[in-house]
């Protein structure tokens, strides 16, 4: 099954982005595994804003500027669900909201002897969380293994 008719998708994406920009100048983060519409949820509380939306081969990316200065990117599959999120900036986004039902698995991930305070690579079931950096410059991403569209290079999700 074809992923998208590229031109239709771009048009639709543009439309959605314009609509979001028009109706919801303040949007919050999406939730992993949930429909794209959750990108707009919880708007008033976090005062975040979509900076840009871009179509790439096989998925769509929303770039969201959080008031903390952290930039978050959300990766939306052809089925309309968020299959990955990535962040970069002085502090992490609200991962309880961003990871949704997967948050507890992330928060309870075990530490090992070789853990330090600079790296995190966990896989709990379908959830993968990878994070790095140092104080004042943190980055990371989370994705659902089963939800990554075929042909997408995981390394591009940042």
């Amino acid at each position: 099954m074809p992923i998208f008719q590229s031109s239709d998708f771009k048009g639709a994406a543009l439309g959605v982005a314009v609509l979001i920009a028009a109706l919801l100048p303040h949007v919050a983060s999406a939730t992993l595994g949930q429909p794209e519409i959750t990108v707009q949820s919880d708007a008033a509380r976090t005062h975040a804003a979509i900076k840009s939306s871009e179509d790439r081969t096989g998925y769509r990316v929303h770039e969201i500027q959080l008031p903390s200065g952290t930039v978050m990117r959300e990766f939306v599959a052809p089925n309309g669900n968020v299959f990955a999120v990535a962040w970069q900036g002085p502090t992490r986004p609200d991962l309880r909201q961003t990871l949704g039902q997967y948050f507890d698995a992330f928060a309870s991930a075990p530490r090992t002897k070789l853990s330090d305070r600079r790296h995190l690579q966990i896989q709990q079931g379908d959830l993968v969380v990878q994070s790095g950096g140092h104080m004042r410059a943190l980055s990371g991403r989370a994705y659902l293994l089963s939800a990554v569209p075929s042909g997408v290079n995981i390394g591009d999700l940042h």
Binding site: P90, T91, L95, A107, R118, Q130, M135, I154
Partner: protein, 414 residues
Amino acid sequence: MVSMRAFRLGLSAVLCLSAFACGGGGGSASNGGGGPPPPPPPTNNTASVIVDAGPPPNNSSVNTLFTSVTICVPGSTTSCQTIDHIQVDTGSYGLRILAPVLTLTLPIETLANGNSLAECTQFVDGFSWGPIVTADFQIAGETAHSLPVQVIGDSRLANIPAGCSGTGGTEEDTVSTFGANGILGIGPFELDCGDCDTATHGLYYACATSCTDTTVPANQQVPNPVTHFAADNNGAIVVLPSVAAGGASNVMGSLIFGIDTQTDNASGTETVLTLDDNAELIVNFNGQTLASSFIDSGSNGIYFADASISLCTAPPSDPTSQIVNFYCPASTLILPITIQGMNGTMTNNLTFGVGNTETMLNSNFDAYPQLAGTLPAGNAGTFDYGLPFFYGRRVAVAVQGAMTTAGTGPYIAF
């Protein structure tokens, strides 16, 4: 502020040198006449550091650098406590002590509205919650009075706000989860937050009956303690001996405070790499230009992505084994690397070793100069050169604004 201190420091150093010069003519130890008083003895600016297995109950640290600090109730010379196994971290900012090891009751900072000040410190793999207190801080002969310090896991502010736990990862509020009795962040900036005086980041919280995200005046934020010393406050130098390729235990070295403020911390002909606004620099490795790289005593290995190096295989009985994501080449690799500062200065003929993690760990040492692991490809553009970089080197970390004969901070020099 730092640069002004650095300037004053430089001035006093000159005066001190002049006094020595003038005193040389007299040649007398007595000071009975009208001559200038003898100069005060130089401040002891050197603390000892060690790479060992870390504090109980874990005793399982790897490539982790520790020192001891003394803290006192502000203004007191008797209500004091010396705490060992404080991690020395050039990749963070500020002194943080785990509450369970603290026997003193230190006063919690209050904001203008009377609320108590607390912090949700974010590390890559988790968070640490606790109030900001003030303490008189001593290490070697250096002192910082009424220094803002975080007490992690303090029962006086035990309820972690949802916004803090929502940053995710492990709650690191005990010695066991933190892996140290505290941490001494001596990175190249003064504060642990770039703009928390004007913006909220989910870092600082104002606590009354509950806690809410808040801005904080800079002088109440947690600083790199070095910047609050009366002297020797423009940076610090970590000196560690070489370590055998296979590893060693109880590796001892020095932490020297100040750069070009005393004879023992003078700059020489070292390579000076200035840092960007994220305290980062550029690493050229394997044909890649990695512009978000850093040299960091708080990282316990050498972390980089190289798909051509074999990863360790976890035993089937332990799929989440600690060696997952670390490198296990059949034989030790010696790889070339170039590190470049924002000033354009580049290292020459630098190499690093990648050993077999599984083999190394079997020896149960504390220090492994060739411990290396992967970074997920999502951390694009990063080479994290941790404590192994410091073995066999004298590494200076100059704070932003520091002016030394070697350059202007922030920089790292070796």
